[in-house]
């Protein structure tokens, strides 16, 4: 039944006071929602989702919107569900190194709260965002080498399903294997399984001392060697990043060390000596200007995420440049080389056809293999992948953003169980989800 363009349906307003018609600025990847709701808590979010389900409305969760343009444009977006009012740090149990946080809390604010007690959530994704958004997009930064991605730090979660059911899994303790880990399932699920309202994380102490060892290399192969040496030395890096802004630029590497201050100083000096013959390295108290600001941080244009086994860093860098060159492109390249993740960024005005052939050629070169036939498993060597994180619609129309996905049938089955009506973030994800 068609509704008047700007009248909020009764059931939605009953569920939550803060519902309004959408405005121009609320568009998601060029798709305009009809209504925007900002529930105060999980119970209101639950009532909203139940009401939306009853009205057959599609729903899209939104934190700060820093990564809302990731994936395909939504097939439909009736209700934008904002987490802005669910912004409390519910509990910081410093003695247990655990914090429970509502999904709308921004990472930088959380860092302030935890930092006051000398602790941190060891996540540094470029572009910040909210706890819920970072979890839903599995966003991570340089610290992923030592501490992992959001799912590795998550120990408990509260979600609201498409039909309004509130559910919890995990808990407040780090050691917990009771039941299935729904938190891992929701990490990286981009809003397609439900709304995350609260998360509990394990924390780490803030380091007493830090140092950054940087090296500028003429060629990618030298930068890979720097990373490899750092990883096999006794330096014990917490992060090791690469930055290669353009094909004819030097390739920069930077290794971050943490720990007891005199130990950090010792290790930094030892590392520079180790790197000496191959690269001129220097020690700094703070990160280089490009740290956390590379292609992964680019908000517009086309950004690819390339995942590979860490030992294949050199080959990955070479494949990226070769595929780009073949398509007539010169992306900014960089990322957590030691952790097996790189990003490549094209400007917003890059030719869409060229961008599409770059992605396809790179997938081929890097071995992002297709799914097996029935009854046969892919060889264990489908050990790399290329995902287009976000791109202008002219590019997404020509590209398979996620590439071949093993177990896609299982994923669809999971989606169907959690959201049988397909109302959560429809059409944005892998496998047609």
């Amino acid at each position: 039944m068609p509704l008047a363009a700007d009248s909020v349906p009764g059931p939605l307003s009953l569920a939550c006071a803060d519902v309004r018609p959408a405005a121009e600025a609320d568009s998601v990847a060029g798709v305009a929602p009809r209504f925007v709701a900002t529930p105060a808590d999980a119970e209101q979010a639950s009532a909203l989702l139940r009401a939306a389900a009853g009205l057959g409305m599609s729903v899209l969760p939104r934190g700060t919107g820093s990564r809302l343009h990731w994936g395909y444009p939504p097939a439909s977006c009736d209700l934008l569900l904002q987490t802005a009012r669910m912004d409390r740090v519910v509990e910081h149990a410093a003695g247990d190194l655990v914090a429970t946080v509502q999904a709308g809390v921004r990472l930088d604010r959380l860092a302030e709260v935890l930092g006051a007690a000398g602790q941190r959530l060891a996540l540094d994704p470029p572009g910040g965002g909210t706890v819920g958004g970072v979890l839903a997009t599995a966003a991570a930064g340089p610290l992923r080498l030592r501490y992992g991605t959001p799912r590795d730090l998550l120990i408990g979660i509260t979600v609201v399903r498409a039909d309004g059911t509130i559910a919890r899994s995990g808990g407040k303790v780090v050691k917990n294997v009771a039941g299935y880990d729904i938190g891992k399932l929701f990490a990286g699920s981009r809003g397609t399984l439900g709304l995350i309202t609260q998360a509990t994380f394990r924390l780490h102490p803030l380091p007493a001392g830090t140092a950054y060892v940087t090296a500028e290399c003429a060629a990618a192969v030298d930068a890979s060697a720097v990373i490899a040496k750092a990883m096999t030395s006794q330096a014990s890096p917490v992060a090791a990043e690469i930055d290669w802004p353009a094909a004819n630029c030097p390739v920069r590497a930077c290794v971050a060390l943490e720990g007891d201050p005199s130990s950090v100083a010792e290790r930094a000096i030892a590392l520079t000596s180790l790197l000496e013959p191959g690269a001129a390295a220097s020690v700094h108290a703070g990160p280089p200007p490009w740290w956390g600001a590379g292609p992964a941080a680019q908000r517009d244009g086309t950004v690819l995420q390339i995942g590979f086994w860490p030992g294949d860093l050199g080959a990955a860098l070479a494949s990226i440049r070769a595929a780009a060159e073949a398509a007539g492109l010169d992306p900014a390249v960089g990322g957590s080389g030691a952790a097996g993740v790189l990003h490549a960024a094209l400007p917003a005005d890059a030719d869409p056809g060229a961008a599409a052939s770059f992605v396809a050629a790179l997938r081929d070169a890097i071995g992002h293999a297709g799914p097996a036939g029935p009854g046969r498993a892919p060889r264990p060597a489908a050990r790399a992948n290329v995902v287009v994180l976000h791109a202008p619609s002219e590019v997404t129309a020509l590209t398979d953003m996620f590439g071949p996905v093993a177990a896609v049938a299982l994923m669809r089955a999971v989606k169907y169980q959690f959201d049988p009506a397909g109302t959560m973030a429809p059409g944005r994800f892998a496998g047609g989800i």
Binding site: A75, D152, G171, K184, G307, V341, R376, N385, V408, A421
Partner: protein, 498 residues
């Protein structure tokens, strides 16, 4: 097949009997066990209180054979249970009399080690310690280290999301598995993840790890290897009471130190360990703390000095530091032998696996002590003090019905204490059959229902290790909510007919 209730196996004796020649076709005659005496040897895992002789046992050699076996079971409507080394402590590998037990012991190959990537691909029957041994020449090791690591299998570790003494700092199995080849409950081989940690789509790998064999069978595991730390110090500190030991732990964590391991044992468990392995812990200790620090040389030196000081301040009356690997092993022997050791001071015992927030440890230990005194049942405490994971060993004489009942009740009361403090009923042993009845105390009906959606997605027929983890199976045929028109995925044009 839709609409079946998980947990209701359809294994009739006839169906089982018809399977036997089919399994022999798949794996060879010698891989199928039908003799009742031999079948009995598989009747339980590490939790001997629950026994059930399997209908059939089969020992496949390859992933393709596992897939064919599962397909045959699915076609016959016969439930199946996977078993690694059978060391589990929650009955996760407890067989079904109407089902097939699929034992992975023959799948023991380390397929590949890639030191530059810090990855290895292993078969599920490989033992945990074997992975570390194979990685050692490359300066690497496999971090999750359950006490049973000499025997327990990687496949079993994946099912239980096993931890071990070093998991506070180094993580559990789920942090060290980057790819899994699995056989789905309908007999298809598929990969979850690709070894990179960034594979597109849902993190089914993260959901599968720790699902206790109920979502499929892992046939290849891509593990993450960790650099062997430059330095390791192992300290043994003796205190008069567990209260003093607990205060030391809080002080250490409060100082921003993250040890590789902190373990505590109380007087009764020390007594048992001494009797079993002569570990010679300091006499008169009401509690001992084992603290292990690992990392770069200079950091370890600084932390060791700090930990010594903090232990002394908390009242340690003796502190030993291992001077070499042999002394390090000797310190750990007592702790690792604790479970088996209490078998010498008591006819029977229940191993609990509750977790509380670390800051609640002193209070909970007092409560356990009070409950134990009231029930007249002794409790020996061994625990991962760093993460609040307790292993109260409830000692009783199983020849006495009163003691058996009291021990059972005391165990439940201890778990209630854990839940009441925001903890967990299981930190690492899993729910299995042993703790499924406690799940509703920890989770609400909606929580359990939501978890079981996963089960319905993977195993709608309810044949894959049914009856484990959840006390009440969820009906999978239901479709909550109203569906209008064609399936949304089909309507979007992005999927085939579903």
């Amino acid at each position: 097949m839709r609409g079946r209730t998980p947990g209701e196996g359809h294994g009739s004796p006839r169906a089982l009997a018809s399977l036997s020649p089919r399994l022999a076709e798949i794996c060879g005659d010698e891989a199928v066990i039908t003799d009742p005496m031999e079948l009995r040897t598989y009747e339980c895992d590490g939790l001997t209180a629950y026994r059930c002789s399997p209908g059939l046992v089969v020992l496949p050699a390859t992933a393709a054979q596992v897939a064919a076996i599962v397909r045959a079971c699915a076609a016959a409507g016969v439930p199946f249970v996977a078993r690694g080394s059978g060391t589990g402590l929650s009955g996760g590998a407890l067989p079904r009399a109407d089902g097939v037990l699929i034992v992975t012991a023959r799948m023991r190959a380390i397929i590949e080690i890639d030191p530059a990537s810090r990855r290895a691909i292993v078969e599920p029957g490989v033992t945990n310690l074997a992975v570390s041994k194979a990685a050692q020449p490359y300066g690497l090791f496999y971090a999750p280290d359950p006490s049973s690591q000499q025997i327990c299998s990687i496949g079993g570790n994946v099912a239980e999301n096993s931890g071990g003494a070093h998991c506070l700092k180094h993580g559990f199995t789920v942090h060290h598995v980057t790819g899994l080849e699995i056989v789905t409950p309908d007999g298809e081989l598929t990969w979850l993840g690709d070894g990179t940690g960034t594979a597109p789509g849902y993190d089914l790998l993260g959901a599968f790890t720790g699902s206790e064999g109920t979502l499929g069978i892992a046939t290849k595991i891509v593990v993450r290897l960790t650099a062997i730390p430059q330095a390791v110090t192992t300290l043994l500190a003796a205190f008069e009471t567990t209260g003093h030991g607990g205060a030391a732990v809080s002080a250490i964590i409060g100082a921003g130190i993250l040890p590789g391991a902190i373990e505590m044992m109380d007087a009764l468990s020390i007594e048992a360990a001494e009797a079993a392995v002569r570990c010679r812990y300091p006499e008169g200790a009401g509690a001992v703390l084992i603290v292990e620090l690992d990392g770069p040389d200079a950091d370890v030196r600084a932390e060791t000095a700090a930990v010594r000081r903090l232990c002394e301040q908390a009242g340690a009356f003796e502190i030993r530091e291992a001077a070499d690997p042999a002394e390090r092993a000797a310190i750990w022997t007592g702790r690792r032998s604790a479970f088996a050791a209490v078998g010498r001071i008591s006819p029977a015992y229940i191993v609990q696996d509750g977790v509380v927030p670390r800051t609640a440890l002193p209070e909970v230990l007092d409560r356990i002590s009070a409950l134990s005194a009231k029930a007249g049942i002794r409790v020996a405490n061994v625990f991962h003090a760093g993460d609040g994971n307790l292993h109260p060993l409830v000692l009783f004489d199983d020849a006495s019905p009163e003691q058996s009942a009291a021990a059972e009740e005391l165990s439940g009361a201890i778990l209630d204490e854990c839940i009441a403090r925001g903890g967990s009923i299981t930190g690492e042993h899993g729910v299995g059959v042993d703790k499924s009845r406690y799940m509703p105390r920890m989770f609400g009906a909606d929580d359990l229902d939501t978890m079981q959606l996963l089960r319905c997605a993977f195993d709608p027929a309810g044949l894959c290790n049914p009856g484990k983890v959840f006390p009440t199976p969820r009906l999978c045929g239901e479709v909550p909510g109203v569906r209008r028109g064609p399936h949304p995925l089909v309507a979007s044009g992005r999927a085939e007919i579903l």
